[in-house]
């Protein structure tokens, strides 16, 4: 008999998500301490972030989370075709997010705002700290987004081939859980970096 434990697999994913939250938790702690020490500089530096792109990206990620959730329901109802389509939309959203980030980072690097640049060195400590945290936190988040994208691509192929189906879809659920985590972290990053000015 094949050994299979879907609840166990999901439990494992949840535990892993706890570790991810604590990984970012350390960064949020540093952010909080630094915001306390340099509240004025953080306030000024945050004006340089493009809240419009940030908002677009937030909407894009929220939509992608919704499509992942819908794809799970689709597989449960036996509609693998629809599930593949929904997962594909999710991946498109991920790509849109990355493209937006590319332009956002690209613009900043273009005007010389990156760690170690001449412009950065001339800024006050607090502003340097803000931009450093900005790059570090959104960079680590992007890394998770890429990992999540790879997971969802594998999942999509498995839905396509029918390895994931109405009677076994725990891998899709776990991929979805991970994707929601990526989304959730952004939901915290967005106001902390873009909106509090």
């Amino acid at each position: 008999m094949e050994h299979r434990d879907d609840i166990g697999a999901k439990l494992g994913m949840w535990v892993f998500i706890f570790t991810e939250i604590l990984l970012f938790g350390g960064l949020f702690l540093v952010y909080a301490i630094m915001r306390l020490s340099y509240s004025n500089e953080f306030h000024q530096a945050a004006h340089h972030l493009n809240a419009f792109i940030g908002t677009i990206n937030t909407i894009v990620l929220l939509v992608s989370s919704a499509t992942v959730a819908m794809s799970i329901t689709a597989v449960q109802k036996g509609n693998n075709k629809l599930a593949v389509l929904l997962l594909f939309i999710t991946l498109i959203c991920a790509a849109v997010f990355m493209v937006n980030k590319y332009f956002e980072w690209g613009h900043k690097i273009h005007i010389g705002l990156y760690p170690g640049s001449d412009l950065m060195v001339s800024l006050s400590h607090g502003q340097v700290m803000f931009f450093s945290l900005y790059y570090f936190m959104t960079g680590l988040h992007m890394f998770h987004l890429v990992v999540g994208g790879i997971i969802l691509t594998i999942v999509m192929i498995k839905v396509q081939t029918g390895t994931i189906n109405a009677s076994r879809y725990v891998l899709l659920e776990n991929g979805g859980l991970y994707w929601h985590l990526v989304d959730l972290i952004w939901i915290f990053l967005f106001p902390l970096l873009y909106l509090i000015t």
Binding site: L11, S37, V128, F136, L140
Partner: protein, 536 residues
């Protein structure tokens, strides 16, 4: 528990049955028992390296002033001694070796919940250890920061800090995945009828440990990444000359690294809790108190980290709160010691090598714990902070505690692992040397520490000479003890071990020695009125 007389139709896990033979069969095995043994062999190698580095330090400290090498090399040696011993030996330690080997059997499972992930954790461990070791030979010389990588020095030094830090990060990831695996295993794979409060106490201690691994390790992970980012990009999270906060680094570091002490010691306590009832042939005293105290240690242990930082300039309020919490965390540890002693009371004790080492553990752990309290008290801490007293204290815990529990566990489960017994007389001699050598090595450090000998110093005042020389001779005795132990265990094949050489009651003693690949011919169950330690 139902008594199942097993015959031997299945080959043992030591026999290669898969498509590979020999070494490859081990390296590709997802069997929890083989992975446990692979961790053990790797750790023995790293431990030997760590001991060697320790002895090289002791030789240099035999007389004041420079003998064989200079201060920069001394800094490198104590740093790598710390990194190897902490990150590759005692943190994975008992959980990775005996948690893997024994825990699934003790709860009546065929393997851990995610066997392939388990093998992956092992390879991450090997990779992380290799990177940490390589940091010694690459770049601008071995790191000289101490294993704590305190900022801002770890940002400013030109030595090869990044590789060492990255090695520690990879090792942390391995530790997280092992913890995750154990949590799911214990939640989902216990034998029918084995409720959480009927689970043996070694798995209980691993359960508490696993939660610390999962919830504390990410903090140090991100901190180490920040160190790397700071060195590469001059970001300045922690370097005050760039506007950073070095005390913040200490907080982040100890938020993990203090709970890490409980990652080390909790499985050790769990092993002792198995050995004492077996060799006393008596039901463990206060089963629930021991189980819950493991969780209590894990929980309270989270909130004591800043007792490493009393002299860092924290507020007085923070200091007394952390001091209070430090005293609180001693309570569940003391409950365990009380229960071990009470278990022995009126038991029919047979003093075999595992029991001897367990007694050694209790004695050394008591000294380590008590001196920990004097360090947790604010006034005395200011006096002995960063002295040899601290060195002696934590070696009594991580070596006298974790190390002796490790030796006890090897002697306890060795017959199950290999299906062979060993020479008790030789094993007892190894105890005599290890125990006396250990005390001779570290007890003088308490005394010279109080007299004012700082830790991590290459040179010292003449009045500390005698203490350092005693320590050197203690180190020699210790090394002799290790050699005797290795000869006892691995030099020649002993007599064939029976299934249950010690009269234990937990599941692993009801299956053949060594166990078959899938552990149980008939999956065990636990009856309504059975308890894990039903001794007469």
């Amino acid at each position: 528990m139902t008594e199942e007389k097993t015959h031997h139709p299945e080959p043992s896990y030591l026999v290669d049955t898969g498509k590979y033979k020999g070494l490859m069969a081990w390296l590709t095995s997802t069997d929890h028992k083989r992975i446990g043994l692979m961790y053990m062999y790797a750790m023995m190698v790293f431990f030997a390296v760590g001991v060697l580095l320790g002895m090289i330090m002791r030789i240099e400290l035999f007389f004041p002033g420079q003998q064989f090498y200079g201060p920069q090399m001394y800094n490198g040696i104590f740093t790598i001694h710390g990194i190897i011993m902490i990150f590759t030996v005692v943190i994975p330690g008992l959980a990775a070796v005996f948690g893997n080997f024994s825990m699934p059997i003790m709860i009546g499972a065929k393997d851990v919940a995610f066997p392939r992930l388990n093998l992956f954790s092992f390879y991450l461990y090997v990779l992380g250890a290799a990177i940490a070791l390589a940091s010694q030979f690459m770049g601008n010389g071995p790191p000289d920061t101490g294993w704590t990588f305190y900022a801002p020095y770890s940002i400013q030094t030109h030595t090869n800090v990044v590789a060492a830090v990255f090695g520690a990060f990879v090792l942390g990831f391995s530790s997280i995945l092992t913890g995750l695996n154990f949590i799911v295993t214990m939640h989902r794979m216990r034998a029918p009828g084995m409720t959480f409060f009927k689970m043996p106490l070694f798995p209980w201690s691993l359960y508490a440990t696993a939660w610390i691994q999962v919830l504390a390790t990410p903090i140090v992970g991100i901190t180490l990444l920040m160190i790397i980012a700071e060195r590469w990009l001059r970001i300045g999270f922690f370097d005050p000359s760039l506007g950073g906060d070095p005390v913040l680094y200490q907080h982040l570091f100890w938020i993990y690294s203090h709970p890490a002490v409980y990652i080390m010691i909790l499985p050790a306590m769990g092993v002792i809790t198995e050995i004492i009832p077996t060799f006393s042939q008596k039901k463990v005293f206060g089963y629930r108190a021991i189980a819950i105290s493991s969780l209590a240690i894990a929980l309270v242990g989270y909130f004591v980290w800043a007792h490493h930082m009393y002299t860092s300039g924290m507020s007085a309020t923070a200091r007394w709160i952390f001091s209070l919490l430090t005293f609180l965390v001693a309570v569940p540890s003391a409950i365990k010691v009380f229960n071990w002693v009470a278990t022995m009371y009126k038991g029919s004790i047979s003093v075999k090598p595992p029991f001897l080492f367990a007694l050694g553990f209790i004695f050394l752990f008591m000294i380590g714990g008590m001196t920990g309290l004097s360090l947790g008290a604010l006034a005395t801490n200011i006096h002995v902070h960063d002295t040899a007293y601290v060195v002696a204290h934590f070696h009594y815990i991580v070596f006298g505690g974790v190390g002796f529990a490790f030796f006890a566990a090897i002697y306890y489960w060795y017959p199950k692992m290999y299906g062979r017994m060993y020479n008790f007389k030789m094993a007892n001699w190894s105890f005599v040397f290890l125990f006396s050598g250990f005390n001779l090595l570290y007890f003088p450090q308490f005394i010279i520490g109080i007299m004012g000998m700082p830790r991590r110093y290459f040179d010292y005042l003449p009045q500390f000479t005698f203490g350092h020389q005693l320590s050197f001779f203690g180190g020699v005795l210790l090394v002799i003890g290790f050699v005797i132990m290795l000869i006892t265990l691995f030099s020649k094949k002993g007599a064939k071990a029976p299934d249950n050489p010690w009269g234990g009651r937990t599941f692993e003693w009801r299956i053949p020695s060594p166990p078959p690949l899938e552990n149980f011919d008939i999956m065990p169950e636990m009856g309504e009125n059975e308890q894990p330690y039903d001794y007469k």
